[in-house]
Symmetry: C2
Subunit: 636 residues, 2 copies
């Protein structure tokens, strides 16, 4: 007995000793982040190759356009996108069915782009003053450059530049090299009584770049894209300092070289700039993982008419009283020129996966999204399209033969015949998962579990991936259909969860009613998708289109219908915008959502900060009255 006792004691003591020894050894490891910080200073980005030239008269890259042959087969030119170069046999026919018009593919409207460009009003004194500080290549009065800098991508503007005119455009375009030059430019403009309008990617859809028609001062468009550098990357503190004219796709490439991402990926990421994102209070596709712009930007510099807005250091979060920078978010060029920003960085995700789910109805899809939003396993991106957009996605499928076609037919058979989904009711949800392997696995498990509870059918990663890839090529469609006598536009809103279904129905009904009321040809295309989710609600994106041949002042009529849709949105409890912003396009609605004192606060702040209206883009009704700027899209 005694022997056993001592044996147990010895084993016990020995175990304790070994355990403690192991603990002590493992405790030598680990240390604090090094005090020496190694900032990375990437060089300037590579110059933009000619092959990446952008179109001036339509969206996007010059090498990419939708085309249709005389048999109605659509194809995207070039080789840039996944869909490029493939024949799309179903699209044209499907679309005619939706808008109720037989469209002759050879019947196109000739564009008169560039035909009516107002000459530059820039006086020689201003040109001379600029020449003292800027190199010749940094200043231009070229007609097409000035026209391009005088508009964004609303349908009204895209229509006007081809079939009407833009009555007032910038008189000069200047490309500053650095913050010092921006300060100089502001001084020159003040001295010479010129008006400054900052320009990033020119992708806004709010008429934000439209020059006030009655602006008598020479207008200088300040194109920020020579200020396109990632100035430094701080890997330890996970921050980077980036100039405001850096374009999204270049930012992504440069950060990725060092293993990081900003995580901000709006649909315009190929062209829009960091300064533009700040100025429009932007949102990105993967905000569930990375946050919206207000979560990503830690600090920024801005040049105003009173001088430089700048801070001495950066903090992860601070409380330093009233913060002008918070007020600049969404200011759309009204207060000054943003020159650079410090942003949060995230390590590139370990894993990126796609997914998709089919739901029998939009209602069930929304129910799925509601339950998903209440979990901590929300993927980087979740989008739910309605039936019409689901059909649209199917119509964008390239023709395929053989096994691919057979499998596609089998899946269709299974879903429609076996599961009982209805072809004119079913909807699709696409998902992007990003993160650590375990994290993504968990998100997938949660997503598909909840999807099943709402009648969803898991449709595989390929459909999801396709859905997201389509985003960037679909942007080219609007300009394509415009020459085939169809006007199209997207508009978006946000709302609490309980308003979603009612709002979507009401907007669709209202658009149909407005279309019918005006005796417009055919039927309108009106489709929606839930494109972002929050615990408190969602963002909904609408696409609207209709045939306009034979319609007088069609862009203006389209505007009216869109305005009616927006009124319906507000009445149904939706916001004026989730992320596109206000510009001039929606400024007339501001009194519907803001108390008079709130509007006056904004005007007072503008008067205080920019008393001379140097930054005269005149968005949101700040500065000169904007009535003149929204007229005249069809006026020659």
């Amino acid at each position: 007995m005694t022997g056993w006792f001592f044996l147990v004691l010895a084993v016990g003591a020995g175990s304790v000793f070994l355990y403690v020894a192991a603990q002590r050894r493992s405790r030598q490891a680990g240390s604090a982040p090094p005090a020496e910080n190694n900032h990375i200073e990437p060089g300037p980005p590579p110059p933009v190759p000619d092959s990446d030239a952008e179109s001036f008269d339509v969206w996007g890259f010059n090498d990419t356009k939708f085309e249709v042959d005389r048999t109605g087969v659509v194809q995207i030119s070039g080789a840039r996108y996944e869909l490029s170069g493939h024949k799309l046999p179903s699209l044209f026919k499907w679309f005619q069915g939706v808008i109720g018009i037989e469209i002759d593919p050879t019947d196109t409207r000739p564009s008169e782009y560039g035909g009516r460009i107002a000459p530059s009003r820039a006086p020689q004194s201003l040109r001379d003053a600029l020449a003292e500080r800027f190199a010749a290549e940094q200043v231009s009065d070229d007609d097409e450059q000035r026209l391009r800098h005088g508009h964004g991508h609303t349908q009204e503007e895209m229509y006007a530049i081809k079939f009407g005119a833009i009555p007032r455009i910038p008189d000069l375009v200047v490309w500053p090299d650095d913050e010092e030059q921006v300060v100089e430019l502001v001084k020159i403009a003040q001295r010479m009584d010129a008006c400054l309008i900052p320009f990033g990617g020119g992708t806004n859809v709010t008429d934000a770049l439209r020059c006030p028609v009655d602006e008598e001062r020479p207008i200088i468009s300040v194109d920020m894209r020579r200020m396109n550098r990632v100035l430094w990357i701080d890997p330890q503190n996970k921050m980077a300092c980036i100039q405001s004219g850096a374009v999204g796709r270049h930012i992504m490439e440069q950060l990725a070289k060092h293993g990081f991402t900003m995580g901000h990926e709006p649909d315009s990421v190929e062209f829009s700039t960091l300064g533009g994102w700040i100025a429009t209070h932007a949102s990105g596709m993967k905000k569930n993982r990375y946050g919206n712009i207000e979560d990503i930007v830690l600090d920024f510099n801005m040049v105003t008419s009173g001088g430089r807005i700048a801070r001495s250091g950066v903090a992860p979060r601070e409380s330093v009283g009233v913060d002008a920078r918070r007020y600049v978010l969404g200011s759309e060029g009204s207060f000054g020129i943003i020159t650079q920003a410090i942003v949060r960085l995230f390590p590139l995700p370990e894993v990126q996966e796609y997914g998709s789910v089919l739901f029998p109805s939009f209602e069930q899809g929304v129910g799925f999204m509601y339950d998903l939003a209440a979990t901590t396993d929300v993927p980087a991106s979740v989008r739910l399209v309605d039936n019409l957009q689901f059909q649209f996605g199917a119509a964008l499928k390239p023709e395929n033969g053989g096994l691919g076609k057979l499998l596609s037919k089998l899946q269709k058979f299974y879903v429609l015949k076996m599961l009982g989904f209805e072809a004119d009711k079913m909807v699709a949800c696409t998902l992007v998962f990003e993160g650590g392997r375990e994290e993504v696995r968990r998100q997938e498990a949660t997503v598909y579990r909840i999807a099943k509870e709402h009648g969803g059918f898991k449709a595989g990663p390929e459909n999801g991936r396709r859905g997201y890839q389509l985003t960037f090529s679909i942007a080219y469609i609007r300009d394509f259909v415009m020459k085939h006598w169809v006007l199209a536009e997207s508009f978006e809103t946000s709302m609490p969860w309980d308003r979603v279904l009612d709002l979507c129905e009401r907007v669709k009904a209202r658009v149909n009613e407005e279309h019918r009321k005006r005796g417009l040809p055919g039927t309108p295309f009106i489709s929606c998708r839930v494109t972002q989710i929050y615990s408190t609600g969602v963002c909904v994106y609408f696409y609207m289109a209709f045939y306009y041949k034979g319609v007088e002042n069609p862009a203006h009529v389209f505007c009216e219908v869109e305005r009616a849709a927006r009124a319906e949105i507000l009445a149904a409890g939706g916001s004026l915008s989730h992320h596109h912003g206000i510009g001039k396009h929606r400024e007339n609605f501001l009194p519907d959502i803001m108390s008079p004192a709130m509007l006056e606060w904004n005007r007072g702040a503008k008067r205080a900060v920019d008393p001379g209206n140097l930054f005269g883009a005149s968005n949101q009704g700040l500065g000169r009255m904007a009535e003149g700027a929204v007229k005249g899209s069809d006026d020659a």
Copy 2:
């Protein structure tokens, strides 16, 4: 053969049939959130019982005070906190050791509180105007009420009310009932040329409530705490609308009754108000899970001199141009009176657990926090105290006998003797985990894995829980030690990760140097903890104290030393404040961190929005110059 073939086919077809049938059945479930929304409208909160009366001359509830008997044993009166009523035998002695002075527990400084209160200057005309709109109980000129409404909880103010004087205090206190009455009050103040200063919990530590000494107009303190209702709860959209005078502890109780939380828990939550949180850009202990105030608040109403700032609806997120509300965050009463806010709600967590880890050194603890911040498993709260604060926590342990004492000694033996931790180097990390069961389990696994990599020893939930419970009772210590001839204060900052260790060392060294330089008695108590983590950096909280008997103008001297510490913080890359704010206490530093144009922007906005300086608290240098307000703490 043929038989087998048909058998396999039959089994196969049968399986497919059964599978599909099962799929169809399960797909009938699920639906969207109901269109009918059932807002909950809780009644008014229960009246505050007499037992919850707050002290006027010291922090906190009247029933709780630290006391020490002649043998040096400390005890907290009452029964409110976990620590209340227990004998704390080690504290007094330990503290004497740290500050290098033998303190006689019977040697206390008698308070002259209430002895020198400036009479009300409110003219009869103003009183009459108020009497037309407000009930008698809503207006007071009582001396002690006015004094209480004329200060917050900086050491300078707490010293002044007992041993000096506050030269300028409100002339009247008014308690409005609702937003309409606030609008009326603003009109009366404008008509009668009075000055308005909103008041919530009165817990600020920035001199934000100190009245400008040279304010000639009658000053009305607008105490918002009769506007204390949760107006509605929207369980479906996870939002609630709450009046700005609602106090943190009541908000928590009322929301919890319905299964929700706002998640905002600053150390002052027992007393501070929703309006105060917005006005100071507050941060809460569990921001890792729930966000800071800017993440929680979706909308709020405010009454300004120009009228009501209000919005027509609420959205989860929107981009509607310049947003005055974003500018009001952190405005500390400079622009108007916040009346109510819509906030996000979270369901109460399924699970709440505590944890603690001991580290051999502060450096290893910070290394642990850095690696933890890079994961997606960050618990609701993580705090790391330095060695001095760790000792302080130990000194706050009630005496215990028997098994508890034995276990405590065993743990100490193990840690010091077996693991080789050093008593004067070791530090502690306390953690709060909240969330779903799986989620919390995952966070715990990650936390303890990383802790081990940095030499950490898992010290159990009890130490963690104790650490957090201490937070609320520790707040009473400062006023206790003040009468024992010790001045104490906390101050905080935020900084990127790579600045943490250097900044903490430099601040401690600077405080010691300033103390020595002034020939102050004993040695200063200076301790820090990392109290919040972000991917980009941290918040660090400092406690400072020193003996002041025999020191002339001690509160002023303390201020000087604190200011030197702040200068050191800024030089070492820290911010002016993570969450306390600026008030008057730090406004002189604003030019060190903001460019002149940025400061002028703020002043310009103030002039535009409140040209008559109706809201004359004069924080952050907005409104009248604040020089007079920070003088005079020792002047009679």
